[in-house]
Amino acid sequence: MRNRTIAGLVACAISTLASIAHAADPVKVCGLRFTSSAANFIAVEKGYYADEGLDITLAYFDAAQPVAVAVSAGACDIGVTGFTAGMYNLAGRGTLRIIAGEAWEERGYKFIGFVASNEAYDKGLRSIRDLPGKRFGVTQLGSTFHYNVGMLTDKYGWDNKAVSVVPLQSVANMVGAVKSGAVDAAALPSFVANPLSAGGAVKLLGWVAAETPWQVSGVIASKDMIDKRRSVVEHFIKAYKRATAEYDAAFNHLDAGGKHVFGKDAEALFPIIEKYTNTSRAVVMDGLPYVNKQASYNIANVAAQLDWYKARGFVDAGVTVDKVADASFVEVVKENFK
């Protein structure tokens, strides 16, 4: 009786192993429900990953930082996320690397916006140049929001402490703070900034893309994944690039006046992005950043980010661009796109 049970279990295990060998490679992809990850969603929905023999499971996070932690810890194989100081520190420990690009803040596109509280606006905060001396809300120190205001400081040559940066830990707290005037200004994603300013709760000051183009986000993979399952990563990138090419054709267009316009293929892609971001057409249309056709990323810009963070002690001194960026999967560029 017992022998038969064991035999049955062994047979069952063998058949399971066999079926795994023949089945698609399982890959767990982690990211945010952001419009900037549209290419990833398109590749999933249209079966580009499946075409490459990948069995994709998506997992969603509510901030960029945990995605990097999950990839480092091996809970996720691949991450699609924003570049933060925390991520660079993890990359410096050799647990993950950037393998492809995603959103690039490009003039004419609206991804992250600067908003002022009504109170501060009434007191004279009318443009980005008025920010020195004001309280500026960010999620966390070392986040993309923090870097946005850091780039402004460098660009306009303000004193390092001219804008007082207030970490509020979450977008919800930032919204509460800027609506009530607890902070004078904040950087908010377009899908938050647009409805707020349309409703009169805040005043829109401008867009990051118009001020300081930069590499906001990309695709990261765990070091184990790159070392041990390199071909899976390559297949992933191949499928991902099919989607970025399609994204490029549909969305990466500016008209003669520099206004963001969409191609004829856009209509077919909107429902996919709406579905994966849980938002409406209007929100999607308002928040699509530039994403490079070849899934390239600007490695020089990554190096610049590292320098900025290291100079402020947010990234450990030993973290170099070689440790952070893997240039072997996509073509990387050293100058701004376009």
Binding site: Q65, G86, N89, R135, Q140, P167, L168, G176, S180
Partner: protein
């Protein structure tokens, strides 16, 4: 023959048969003892040292990657660096003043409401559902509201701790008042004590043990909520330090900050122990 007499006879018979027939002899085996845990400070320290040693060994041998848990040496050096930094005193004093003021305000409000609920039926019936409703509110979830109401200054940070401390204080206070033996209150009435005297001389001292036990819980809550409070735009503070280390994935600083927080907790708990000893000598 009376039954008593018969019993005596039976006993004498049993005695005589016992001496005739010499059965096996045995010594009664001790079977009590145990189930009596006693404090032993030495073993407590040894356990901590042993744990740290195992931790260091695991880290040094590579079983424990720094991402999972930085080694005690790394944490120690992060802690030293933290303590040597110029802003260390402002970090600690900012947190301590938030904890102290939040805990004090929440405790005073809680004691007033809790005592009122213990003494007056109307206060109890009116406040109990409100307090019970306030108890499980997750502070992190209402941070955006607190920011809208109170801004991002000290008041909203203090409010997080006040709100967290208030409800448990109310509940421990009014159950402490409830636990004052009714017999003592009846005694006070029977000796013609005024209402005021009964409250001041019987109910308040009688509820002190329960109130002080509540302090231990609320002091811990205040420390736990410190990190939530310092989520609101804190420039300095142990909680802000932990949050920043977490955001930057500087795990050595993260663990060092957590150790700092738990050391603060130990000091507070020791102080409360002294307070209990001083105030509850009669127990």
């Amino acid at each position: 023959m009376s039954s008593a007499l018969k019993l005596v006879q039976d006993a004498s018979q049993r005695n005589s048969t016992g001496s005739k027939d010499e059965g096996p002899e045995a010594v009664v085996r001790f079977r009590g003892g145990g189930f009596d845990p006693r404090p032993n400070a030495w073993i407590g320290w040894a356990a901590i040292i042993g744990l740290v040693a195992i931790w260091q060994l695991a880290a040094a041998s590579g079983y424990l990657s720094p991402l999972v848990l930085p080694s005690p040496v790394q944490v120690g050096s992060a802690l030293l660096k933290m303590a040597a930094a110029d802003d260390f005193t402002s970090q600690v004093s900012a947190s301590l003043s938030r904890v102290a003021s939040g805990w004090l305000i929440g405790t005073i409000m809680g004691l007033i409401v809790g005592c009122a609920m213990g003494v007056f039926s109307i206060a109890r019936a009116g406040a109990l559902p409100i307090v019970s409703g306030l108890y499980p509110i997750p502070m992190i979830a209402i941070l955006p509201l607190l920011i809208v109401w109170l801004g991002i200054g000290e008041s909203s940070k203090t409010a997080v701790i006040v709100l967290g401390v208030f409800s448990p204080t109310v509940i421990s206070t009014f159950s402490a008042v409830d636990n004052v033996p009714r017999g003592l209150i009846r005694m006070g009435q029977s000796f013609g004590l005024s209402w005021r005297s009964i409250v001041l001389k019987i109910i308040l001292p009688g509820s002190l043990p329960g109130v002080l036990a509540g302090f231990r819980i609320t002091a811990a809550i205040a420390l736990i909520l410190l990190v939530s409070a310092e989520m609101i735009g804190a420039e300095y503070g142990i909680g802000a330090l932990i949050l920043l280390a977490g955001n930057l994935m500087q795990t050595d600083r993260l663990v060092a900050g957590v150790l700092l927080l738990s050391a603060t907790g130990l000091v507070i708990s020791w102080l409360l122990g002294r307070l209990e000893k001083a105030l509850l000598k009669w127990r």
